[in-house]
C-alpha cells in the first residue's frame, strides 16, 4: 500500500487504498485543455512538443531553428515546421455541502462520501501536475480556492474539505453560474452532489458549461435508504432543507416511492449523458475503496 509522502497531506478523507488504485489514472476527455504550462494534455495551441502539427510559410521574425531545409531544397521556399503544444489540465471540483448531503442511513453520510471523492480527485489531479480549483456550494458559493497546481494548494484544499461542515439550503445552479464566471479557460468541472433539489436548473447550468467547451462531470451521491425507503410503519418525514413534513405509512408507500425515485435519477442520468456530460451515481457504502475508482473510471477517467 503506497504511503502519502508528506505528513501535511494526511486527511481522514484521503484513503491510501483508493490512491493506490487511481495512481495511474488520468482524465481522458474528448475536449482539449487550455492549460498555462506544459503538461500531458493536448492544447489548441502550437507548441514545441515532439508531435508534428503542420507547415507554414516563413515570416520575418520566426525562429530559424524551425526552418525545414529539406522542403527548401525541393522548392526553394522557406517553410517553418510547427509542432502541437501539450499543456496541463485545468479542473474545478465543486462539492455540494447542502443539508440534504448530511444524510446517512449507515455510519457515513453522503457528504462524507462526497468528501472522500473530492479529496481523491484533488490528490489525483494535483499530483499529475494539473491545476485544480475547489469550491463548496450550497445556496451560493460558500468556499472557493482558485486554480493552482502547487502542493500547497492541495494541502489547503484537503484541509478545506475536511473542515467544511454540511449545512444550508440548496441552490447549486446559481452557485455553478457564479463559479462559471470565474473559470476563464476550458476546464474539467466536476460536480459532486445528490442532485435532489433543483435538478432541472443544475442540468441547465451544466449545459451552459458544456456549451462553453468545458468538460463536465457529475458524480451523484445517494444513500441506499433514500433509494429504497426501507422503513415500516407510520413515519413523519421532515425535509432536511425546507423542514416540510409528510406523514405516511412508509411500508405501503415504499414501492411507489422506489419507482418514482428510479425514474427521477434515471431522468437525470439520461439528460446529463445526452448533453455529453460524464455521469456516475455513487451509493454510499462502507467500502468506498472499490467503488470510487470504478466510479471515476466509468465517469470518464482512464488509466494511462
Amino acid at each position: 500500500m503506497p504511503k502519502i509522502s508528506s505528513p501535511r497531506l494526511k486527511s481522514e478523507f484521503l484513503r491510501p487504498e483508493i490512491i493506490a488504485k487511481i495512481s495511474r489514472m488520468n482524465f481522458a476527455g474528448k475536449k482539449i485543455s487550455e492549460g498555462t504550462v506544459a503538461g500531458s494534455h493536448s492544447s489548441p495551441y502550437r507548441g514545441c512538443s515532439s508531435e508534428f502539427s503542420a507547415f507554414r510559410p516563413y515570416t520575418q521574425g520566426d525562429d530559424t531553428r524551425y526552418l525545414d531545409w529539406k522542403v527548401y531544397a525541393r522548392c526553394e521556399r522557406f517553410y517553418i515546421r510547427q509542432f502541437e503544444q501539450e499543456t496541463n489540465l485545468r479542473s474545478c471540483v465543486i462539492i455540494d455541502r447542502s443539508e440534504s448531503m448530511n444524510f446517512g442511513s449507515s455510519r457515513a453520510t453522503k457528504y462524507d462520501y462526497a468528501r472522500i471523492i473530492a479529496s481523491t480527485l484533488a490528490y489525483m489531479i494535483i499530483k499529475r501536475g494539473d491545476s485544480m480549483s475547489f469550491s463548496a456550494v450550497s445556496s451560493g458559493v460558500d468556499e472557493y480556492f482558485p486554480p493552482s497546481r502547487s502542493t500547497g494548494n492541495l494541502v489547503n484544499v484537503l484541509n478545506a474539505i475536511a473542515s467544511i461542515a454540511p449545512g444550508g439550503g440548496t441552490n447549486i445552479a446559481s452557485a455553478m453560474d457564479a463559479i462559471g464566471s470565474k473559470i476563464k479557460r476550458k476546464s474539467l468541472v466536476i460536480l459532486i452532489s445528490d442532485m435532489l433539489t433543483g435538478s432541472d436548473q443544475i442540468i441547465k447550468s451544466v449545459k451552459r458549461f458544456i456549451k462553453q467547451k468545458h468538460n463536465f462531470m457529475v458524480l451523484q451521491v445517494i444513500d441506499p435508504a433514500e433509494a429504497d425507503l426501507p422503513f415500516g410503519g407510520k413515519y413523519t418525514f421532515v425535509d432536511s432543507e425546507t423542514r416540510g413534513r409528510v406523514t405516511i405509512n412508509a411500508a405501503r408507500a415504499a414501492s411507489s416511492y422506489r419507482r418514482q425515485f428510479h425514474q427521477f435519477v434515471s431522468g437525470i442520468e439520461t439528460s446529463l449523458k445526452n448533453c455529453g456530460c460524464g455521469y456516475f451515481r455513487f451509493a454510499v457504502s462502507p467500502n468506498p475503496e472499490d467503488e470510487i475508482p470504478e466510479g471515476l473510471f466509468k465517469a470518464g477517467f482512464s488509466f494511462i
Binding site: 440534504s100 448531503m101 444524510f103 453522503k110 445528490d194 435532489l196 433539489t197 444513500d223 433514500e226 422503513f231 410503519g233 407510520k234 413515519y235 413523519t236 418525514f237 421532515v238 425535509d239 432536511s240 432543507e241 425546507t242 416540510g244 413534513r245 409528510v246 406523514t247 405516511i248 405509512n249 405501503r252 408507500a253 411507489s256 416511492y257 418514482q260 425515485f261 427521477f264
Partner: protein, 646 residues
C-alpha cells in the same frame, strides 16, 4: 319499535367502545425522520396516508359493529310493527276446552299446550291482566291474569263437544267493546268453528294453533266409528267419511283380549254390520284402517238381552189392494231385530194382542168404540206406547171424542197444503241423531191440523203446523202423526228420517226407558239406580252423588272404556265412548280456512308457547339476524386486519 327479550344484556353496550379505546390507547405516534427530500414522498404519500386512515377507520367501525351485533344477539331484539303498539284496551284469552284438545302431538297433549300458551300470554301481558276463558259448547270465564291461568291449570282433560263457538265469539266481541285484543287457542278442528267470526274494528284477533303445522292441506286423516247401532245379534257400524287414503275398512269384535268375530273389507262410504253373539253382552269393536287413530278405532258397547217384542198394527180394512199404512209400518218395524209386527184388522183381536204388547200402532182407523178407547187408556197408563196415524177414513171428531184424554192435541179436519215448509225437530229420546236434513225431502199434500195440549211435545213441525206430537199418559205415551202412514197424505213413510225415528221411539219406550242406560259418551255423568253401591274403572272407585229422585250420579266420565256398575242384582258393564258428533274428526283447518273464519286475524302455529308467545307479542325475533351479521362482520374484520398487516 325494537324490544328485547333479555334487556339486561344492553348494559354491555358500552363494550362496543372497547375497540375505539384500544385503538386510541395503542395508537403509535409517527416516527419523525429527517429525510433529504420529501418532494417524491409528497406526490404519493398523501393518498397512501388517506388510504391508511380509511382502512383503519373501517376496521374500527367493523369491530365496533361486530361487538354491537354480538350484544344484540344475546339481548334478543325483536321488531314490533307499529299497529301492534296501539292496543289500548283489555285482552281476552280463549282456550279450546273441547275433547279434540285431548289429542297428543309430539308427546304433549294439546290441552296442556293451550294451558301453557295461556300462561305465557298472561305472563307477557301481566300488567293488563287478560281475562281467561275456556270454550266448548259455549264459553265460561275462568278469571283474570294469574287467577285465570290457575283455574285452567286445575282443569283436567277436556271432555265436551265444541260447537258453534264462532257465533258466540262474534256476540261476545260486539257486546264487550272494551276488549281490544283476543287470543284464540285451539287445534282449529273443523267442527269447532263453522261460521265467520265478526271481528269489530279496532280489535286484534290472534289465532294460536296447537298441534301439527298446517301446510294448507288437511293434516289429520282420521277414520273413525261415527256411530253404532246395537242389536241383539249384531252391531251396525257407521264409519266416518273423513279423508282417508284407505278406501276400505274391516271390523272386529273383541271381548277382553279375545277376538270374537271379524268382517270382510267394506267400502269406507258404507255402514257395516258385524255379528256379535248374544253371550257377549259387552266388549269393543275395532275398526281396521291405516288412517284410524288409536283412540278412535274402537267403540265400546254394552247391551242387555232384549226379548223380541211384537208390535200389533191395527188398520181399518182386512185387506188392502194397495200399499197402505200397515204395509209401510210393518216394513219399517221388521228392519229391527228387536221387533216384529202383526197386522190386525179386527178390533177384538187387536184388544187381545194389546194386553201382551208394549207398543202398538193404529193406522187409518175409523170406529174408535168406547171399549177400545177404554182398553187403550188402561194399556197406555200401564206403560204402553201408542202410535197413531190418521188416514182418509179417519173422522177427527170421532177420534177427539173417543181418545180426548190421552191424545196430544185436538185433531181438525183435513187441510190441504201447496208446499211444505222447513221441518224442525225436537225429539228428546233421539240423542239429536235426527236433524232437519233427514226430512228435507218431505213433501206433504194434506194433513190433519193438530192443536197440541199444553203438556204435549211437538216432535216434528213444518213451519207452524205440527206433523207429529207426543204426550205422556200414566206410565205410557202417545205419539200422534198428522199425516197418514201411507203415501196418501205425504211421502213420510219413505223419507230418510222417518224409519229410524219410528224405530228409535219404539226402542226407547219399549226397552231403554225401563233399562239402566248402558252406553254413554265421554263427559256425560253416569246415572245409576239408588241401590248401586260402587262404580269402578280399572279397579278405581268413582265418586257417586245422590240425586233428588233417589238415584246416583257419577262425575263426568273422562276416559272411554268399559265401566262396571255393581248393584244388588249383580254387576253390569257400562260403555263410555268418545263423542261422535264430529269431535272425533281430527282433521284440522288449513291456515287459509282459519283466515276465512277469522278475517283479518293473525295466525300462528305454536310449538314452544313460552318463547313463541313472547315473539308474537313482542314482534319478530332478530337474534338470528344479529348473529349472522356478527359472523359476517367477523369475517370482514379478519380479512381487513390481515390485509392491513400484510
Amino acid at each position: 319499535m325494537l324490544r328485547f327479550f333479555r334487556g339486561e344484556f344492553l348494559y354491555f353496550l358500552p363494550l362496543t367502545l372497547l375497540p375505539l379505546l384500544i385503538h386510541l390507547l395503542s395508537r403509535k405516534k409517527a416516527v419523525i425522520y429527517i429525510f433529504p427530500s420529501i418532494s417524491l414522498l409528497k406526490k404519493d404519500a398523501l393518498s397512501k396516508t388517506a388510504d391508511f386512515n380509511l382502512m383503519s377507520v373501517l376496521l374500527l367501525l367493523i369491530r365496533t359493529a361486530a361487538l354491537f351485533f354480538l350484544i344484540m344477539y344475546f339481548a334478543g331484539p325483536s321488531f314490533v310493527l307499529g299497529k301492534k303498539q296501539s292496543v289500548i284496551g283489555e285482552t281476552a284469552v280463549f282456550a279450546d276446552y273441547s275433547y279434540s284438545m285431548n289429542r297428543t302431538f309430539a308427546g304433549s297433549a294439546l290441552w296442556d299446550e293451550a294451558k301453557n300458551a295461556s300462561g305465557a300470554i298472561v305472563k307477557e301481558l301481566a300488567e293488563e291482566k287478560p281475562s281467561v276463558f275456556i270454550f266448548n259448547k259455549g264459553f265460561s270465564f275462568e278469571g283474570r291474569g294469574p287467577d285465570g291461568v290457575a283455574s285452567l291449570a286445575a282443569k283436567k282433560k277436556p271432555c265436551d263437544v265444541s260447537a258453534g263457538f264462532s257465533g258466540e265469539l262474534s256476540k261476545f266481541l260486539s257486546n264487550n267493546s272494551n276488549i281490544k285484543r283476543v287470543f284464540v287457542i285451539s287445534d282449529f278442528a273443523r267442527n269447532t268453528f263453522t261460521d265467520e267470526v265478526k271481528i269489530p274494528q279496532g280489535v286484534g284477533l290472534v289465532c294460536l294453533g296447537t298441534g301439527e303445522a298446517r301446510s294448507g292441506a288437511l293434516s289429520a286423516k282420521n277414520f273413525y266409528i261415527r256411530s253404532c247401532e246395537i242389536y241383539n245379534e249384531h252391531i251396525v257400524v257407521l264409519p266416518s267419511r273423513a279423508p282417508s287414503e284407505k278406501a276400505e275398512y274391516s271390523l272386529s269384535v273383541w271381548s277382553g283380549s279375545r277376538k270374537v268375530n271379524s268382517t270382510a273389507s267394506a267400502s269406507f262410504a258404507q255402514s257395516c254390520a258385524i255379528t256379535v253373539p248374544a253371550e257377549y253382552s259387552s266388549g269393543r269393536i275395532e275398526i281396521d284402517n291405516a288412517d284410524a287413530l288409536m283412540e278412535d278405532n274402537v267403540f265400546f258397547y254394552s247391551r242387555k238381552a232384549r226379548p223380541k217384542t211384537v208390535v200389533p198394527v191395527l188398520r181399518a180394512e182386512s185387506f188392502a189392494l194397495s200399499k197402505d199404512g200397515g204395509y209401510f209400518i210393518r216394513k219399517i218395524i221388521e228392519r229391527s231385530s228387536f221387533f216384529s209386527s202383526e197386522i190386525i184388522s179386527d178390533t177384538g183381536e187387536f184388544r187381545k194382542k194389546l194386553k201382551e204388547a208394549r207398543a202398538a200402532v193404529i193406522t187409518n182407523f175409523a170406529g174408535f168404540s168406547p171399549a177400545l178407547a177404554k182398553d187403550l187408556r188402561e194399556w197406555i197408563a200401564q206403560g204402553g206406547l201408542l202410535i197413531l196415524f190418521p188416514g182418509d177414513k179417519t173422522v177427527p171428531e170421532e177420534m177427539n171424542l173417543a181418545l180426548s184424554d190421552f191424545l196430544p192435541g185436538r185433531v181438525y179436519p183435513v187441510k190441504e197444503v201447496s208446499s211444505t215448509e222447513a221441518v224442525s225437530l225436537e225429539i228428546p229420546w233421539s240423542n239429536n241423531a235426527f236433524t232437519a236434513e233427514h226430512y228435507s225431502k218431505l213433501s206433504v199434500l194434506k194433513f190433519f191440523p193438530v192443536r197440541c195440549r199444553e203438556d204435549a211435545l211437538e216432535l216434528i213441525k213444518a213451519g207452524d203446523e205440527t206433523l207429529s206430537s207426543a204426550v205422556r199418559f200414566g206410565d205410557g205415551a202417545v205419539i200422534l202423526f198428522s199425516v197418514s202412514a201411507d203415501m196418501e197424505f205425504s211421502n213420510l213413510p219413505v223419507v230418510a228420517g222417518f224409519p229410524p225415528f219410528l224405530l228409535r221411539s219404539l226402542e226407547y219406550f219399549v226397552y231403554e226407558r225401563k233399562e239402566l242406560r248402558k252406553n254413554y259418551f265421554v263427559g256425560e255423568k253416569i246415572e245409576l239406580p239408588g241401590s248401586a253401591r260402587a262404580l269402578t274403572l280399572s279397579g278405581t272407585p268413582i265418586k257417586l252423588q245422590n240425586t233428588p229422585d233417589g238415584g246416583k250420579l257419577s262425575e263426568p266420565a273422562l276416559v272411554p272404556g268399559l265401566y262396571e256398575a255393581t248393584g244388588p242384582g249383580g254387576s253390569e258393564s257400562i260403555a263410555v265412548n268418545l263423542i261422535r258428533n264430529g269431535e272425533n274428526d281430527l282433521s284440522v283447518m288449513s291456515t287459509g280456512e282459519i283466515k276465512k273464519i277469522f278475517p283479518g286475524a293473525e295466525f300462528f302455529n305454536i310449538k314452544n308457547p313460552e318463547k313463541e308467545i313472547a315473539q308474537i307479542l313482542r314482534g319478530k325475533n332478530l337474534s338470528d339476524t344479529s348473529l349472522f351479521i356478527f359472523m359476517a362482520l367477523l369475517c370482514a374484520e379478519i380479512f381487513l386486519a390481515y390485509k392491513l398487516r400484510s
